[in-house]
Symmetry: C2
Subunit: 345 residues, 2 copies
DNA sequence: TTGAAAGCGTTACCAA
DNA sequence: TTGGTAACGCTTTCAA
């Protein structure tokens, strides 16, 4: 009685056997008709389709999935093991998601979005084991390199956006972080900057590779090696702002900042200005990603562009190749320096 | 033979009966043990859990869903019937998605992301009928007011982000578009602007409500009514830029632009500058949404803030209430004017 | 060309 | 407290 008041059943949806009864045939015939099998007579098929349409019938995907042992779904997982705040804020990832949704939808699959928060233990095995999806795309390696490495040994339909590391057996798609970072730092050196600081968290593989490129550029500076310096900064606006502010307070001299991401770079600019420093006059700043904000912030941000449309298309393509049992190797795409105002004249 | 070369089976995952065999009990006992039922003896439960853990067992969600008649999944659908380009680009929606992912995950559900592209016919019935999700959140009414109205009659667990229209039976969450737009236009009037143009596509319900607020503000201007003028502009950066450019070319005089969204406002600023006009000196510009770009673009954008964290929390809360069979009415949240540089001194 | 029946991996009811 | 069994709604093999 109480139950009847709080719980209310929604109208039971039609199932295939209902359609079969209404059309005066067996369920198996309806199944064949709906699948467009050539076995069922043309006129009968049309009659069945009409009945199904009239009753708004849609095949129950739970039953269908169980029977067919596939879900027509791709899981997109975002590990946030490294984030201070556990919310998905970086526009880069979010833009990437939108592109992935496009590509996955286009192939007639659904996209299941999974945020993964600490404690991280066993998340990938659970995700694979639950069989909610036919394949998995992981956006960003975060702190999960080892988990990915372990899973890839037995689970093939797995593609990761991130940095390509040496001795890595899972499939990654990403831009050439080392070359991209090196190029943008070389650009800073060309503009006369000598005390260039890297702002970012090198415990994340992609960031680590960018740091590597940064160091290479300094080491091979045309007028002799320049000293490297890394200031750790997490990926959120607030954390990066704080890190920049603390570094300014330390009174160490510098004339340029290499943000590990655009979000970090933009936050650094805000902190620099708050401290009375001018960008790019006093301090030049560059970022990485070319999120849409980069072209619209003030000053506009010199950065390294990652082609997300291409990247997401590539990831989905590789994943589907793997779903078909074929091998699909990692792919590294070129990164392009986009020169704007923040790196100075 | 050829098949064997191209298709490769992944290692068959353990199922519940495997665990049952290994532990020397019946499947039903394993099921109970895994569910934490008090019926199964403590020591036996632990033995079963250990066996399951050793073999990395995870319950197959396809089978579980079918049996339980629920999916622990929420579909988030984004109708793009109105978009020129069919890709999900508006940062506002994308930020909203991120928050929704947070809220849905927190309640132990998965989030299924669905873009809906033209032709739109029947998409909602299909989405409901397929039973891939227990409930549905629709982000933006787009052109789909009627479809929503029809579906809401029989399907309760449906919540829509968008404008609250009169005589609407489906559940919406959104900010008070009329009041928000009215307030920001009143702000422009206070700053001395007299020829204020609305830039946006009023065929979308939310935008239509903002246009209404805009008109109200003009009508009740303190020194007598001001003339309204709407320039239609679709929601993408490119379309808005083009629309603004064309309007500038028309030589009609104006001194302020009300962008229906921040994306439109930012694009308008770009077009105005390209035409040699200064913002805010020659033309004041305001937007709507307060996406993160608004605080960082140049000049910074005066806009109407929608609290997305609160909005998404509200949507998910209402949806879950509806899943439990309770009624849950629409909710309208206040909108707040954020004054920045683009509206002038 | 159609019908009957088995089976996908769970959970829940009924017996023991 | 445990085991057996039916059922969730569909697809597919085998018979007719």
């Amino acid at each position: 009685m109480l139950l009847a008041m709080t719980k209310r059943r929604r109208p039971t949806a039609a199932k295939m056997s209902d359609i079969a009864n209404a059309a005066g045939v067996h369920v198996s015939t309806v199944s064949r008709a709906l699948a467009g099998s050539s076995l069922v007579a043309e006129d009968l098929r049309e009659r069945i389709l009409k009945v199904a349409h009239e009753r708004n019938y849609v095949v129950n995907s739970m039953a269908r999935n169980l029977r067919l042992q596939r879900t027509q779904t791709i899981s997109v997982a975002i590990p946030l093991g490294h984030e201070a705040v556990q919310t998905l804020t970086d526009p880069f990832f979010v833009e990437l998601l939108a592109f992935l949704a496009d590509e996955i939808t286009q192939r007639g699959h659904s996209m299941l979005l999974k945020k993964v928060l600490p404690p991280m233990s066993g998340w990938l095995d659970r995700l694979i084991g639950a069989r909610q999806a036919d394949g998995i795309i992981v956006v960003g390696q975060s702190t999960e390199h080892e988990a990915l490495e372990a899973a890839a040994a037995t689970f093939k339909p797995l593609v990761v956006w991130g940095g390509h590391l040496k001795q890595q057996s899972y499939c990654t798609v990403g831009t050439d972080n080392v070359a991209g970072a090196r190029a943008v730092v070389e650009h800073l050196i060309k503009r006369g900057r000598r005390r260039i600081v890297f702002l970012g968290d090198p415990s994340i593989p992609e960031i680590r590779l960018r740091q590597l490129g940064y160091r290479e550029a300094l080491k091979h500076a045309p007028r002799g090696p320049l000293p490297p310096r890394t200031v750790p900064a997490r990926l959120t606006m607030e954390a990066a702002y704080e890190a920049m502010r603390a570094f300014i307070d330390s009174k160490i001299e510098f004339d340029a900042i290499v943000g590990a991401t655009d979000v970090i770079a933009v936050s650094a600019i805000r902190a620099l200005r708050a401290a009375g420093l001018e960008v790019p006059k006093d301090i030049a700043v560059v970022g990485y990603d070319d999120i849409s904000l980069a072209a619209h912030c003030s000053p506009t941000l010199t950065t390294v562009r990652q082609d997300l449309a291409r990247g997401s298309k590539m990831m989905v393509e590789l994943l589907f190749r793997r779903l078909e049992g074929m091998d699909a190797p990692s792919a590294t795409m070129p990164a392009e320096v986009i020169v704007r105002e923040s790196s100075g004249p």
